[in-house]
Symmetry: C2
Subunit: 330 residues, 2 copies
């Protein structure tokens, strides 16, 4: 099996490549090679049992998507995206990469599907986001709730979902779209994304650094760990498409928790000394942005289809300590 990961230099893409290198197979089929693509050259995972080709290009430019699928990859993970904040600031770039790029990719696959009279029919796993939803929300967002995004990023992801479902219905490929919760604990350095504090207040104190909490403890949000996100991607690659039916886009399971519950979990796992590194500095701008975000999904379909996330924030924090800190708390 030939695997293509588009967006392989991002945090989730890197972890996905590592997981695939560890597993060596998808659905019992040995991975014979992988192509790792991003706008900057991705690195291949260590100790990889199959050959990895790394490619850097702008996949939205004419001809580039065609090059990516010219080798007829059997499994395509499409994770490439301009993130929410940047897509909001740079309207043209967001639409070009998230909307037009996705469409170009789907068109490139369709061209080979048509040329081979349907013999080429890869699974395409597309990462969407809960940003396809826009406030006001019901207490829990059900599987049939409408997509009225309040950002260009959410709009672009919702368009990608529609295209994925239609190209799948027409038989051009076999797509599964997964709406990721906010990823927490996101590794790396603090960033200025409005959602950054959800991770910052756990990651930084665990590493011995102070972190700023800009909102009230009562703010509730919808989370999953990087480990779960990779698990969703692998499960989406392995799932029986017949069982999914024509509604190809699924809200993923996650954990609904308040900031207070995050901090309580941090205290249980790491103690008061670590929690004391969180500094409360209310930021009205962030408070306003976050008030429009989804608090909870009720992803019954995904759960019935076997997607699994953490059950409590202690698990999310322990996964971070294991995966990112070699088990050591500062």
């Amino acid at each position: 099996m030939h695997v293509l990961i588009i967006g392989a230099a991002g945090m989730v893409g890197r972890k996905l490549a590592e997981r695939l290198a560890k597993n060596g197979q998808i659905n019992g089929k040995t991975i014979s090679k992988a192509t790792l693509h991003d706008v900057v050259e991705p690195s291949a995972p260590a100790n990889c049992p199959f050959p990895c080709t790394t490619v850097a290009s702008d996949y939205s430019l004419p001809g580039e998507a065609e090059k990516l699928v010219a080798g007829h990859p059997d499994m395509i993970f499409h994770l490439a995206a301009i993130v929410s904040g940047e897509a909001e600031q740079n309207f043209d770039l967001g639409y070009r990469i998230n909307c037009d790029g996705t469409w170009q990719l789907f068109e490139a696959i369709r061209a080979i599907n048509t040329e081979t009279k349907g013999a080429y029919h890869p699974r395409v796993v597309f990462t969407s986001s809960i940003a396809v939803f826009g406030a006001p929300f019901p207490p829990a967002i059900g599987d049939e709730f409408f997509t009225t995004p309040l950002t260009s990023y959410g709009t672009q992801k919702a368009i990608g979902e529609l295209l994925l479902a239609d190209y799948t219905r027409k038989g051009f490929f076999d797509g599964i779209g997964i709406r990721l919760p906010t990823i927490c604990v996101r590794p790396g350095k603090p960033n200025k994304a409005a959602s950054g504090f959800f991770s910052n207040i756990l990651r930084e104190p665990l590493a011995g650094h102070e972190a700023v909490l800009p909102v009230e403890d009562t703010v509730r949000h919808w989370h999953a760990s990087p480990r779960s996100a990779v698990g969703f991607l692998v499960h989406a690659a392995e799932i029986d498409g017949e069982k999914v039916g024509p509604r190809r886009n699924l809200s993923m399971p996650g954990l609904s928790a308040t900031v207070g519950e995050q901090i309580d979990a941090l205290r249980r796992v790491a103690g008061d000394k670590v929690v004391a590194r969180i500094k409360r500095v209310p930021d009205p701008a962030i408070i306003k942005i976050v008030s429009g975000w989804a608090e909870r999904c009720d992803p019954q379909r995904a759960i019935a289809l076997g997607f699994v996330a953490e059950k409590n924030f202690d698990e999310i924090i322990r996964a971070h300590i294991e995966d990112e800190l070699n088990g050591q708390i500062a």
Copy 2:
């Protein structure tokens, strides 16, 4: 006020131009001129109190959308579309006209909005369709039901809705999307669209001709008259955008009726002799297609915003007799 109608040669577009010619104004503002556009040259309405320019072009080709909005029309009705059956058969054409064409139009408006620093900010009324929904449905499709179209046409309309909402949110124009029910009684000749029989079984008998009914009398569907469709468009042009809020796409009111109820109304309005011209010839292909269609919407938002449709099928039939048959039944 300068009005642009894109798709002005279609049935609804023609009737809209006639209504505007009769009204002479929108929201109390006198219409100073109109541009009527379609892929074939539209005809100007008779006795029109304002000058009409008619234009034929493919608005999806590079530079054509720019030409249409170069005159800074204050009110843009976007009705252009490849219809459902054709979009399903001709995938490329459907996406080019319904999806890319709509996007090109919105981009052309955005370019002038940006160039004029926001001074150019037209109302854009976009005709969407209940085809954005896909079975299985709840007994009545509520305003927050998700869009999982089962046709490329429905997908393209859903993408248009998302773009409309995002371009409106960003302040590039002031868009309202209206999801039309199936239009009944559609004037003209019988066509081979799967939905054609809903109109054929009324229009043809009223004109003295036989009509074929290919489904059971129990089939239920969601209807509005051409007169109501034009009313929706005019109301969407006049409505206060502030009251609509960020959710810019609205399912229109309509009438949920079974084929049996349609026929009962025909009998009340036109008598047994006319009803006897309906011939029952079951068609398994049409029965299957129709079984996936929406039976009823519950468009509470549109009703609260003042959109009005017929209350019973007698009204729909009487409107057809008045508007298309000069009051005469054959």
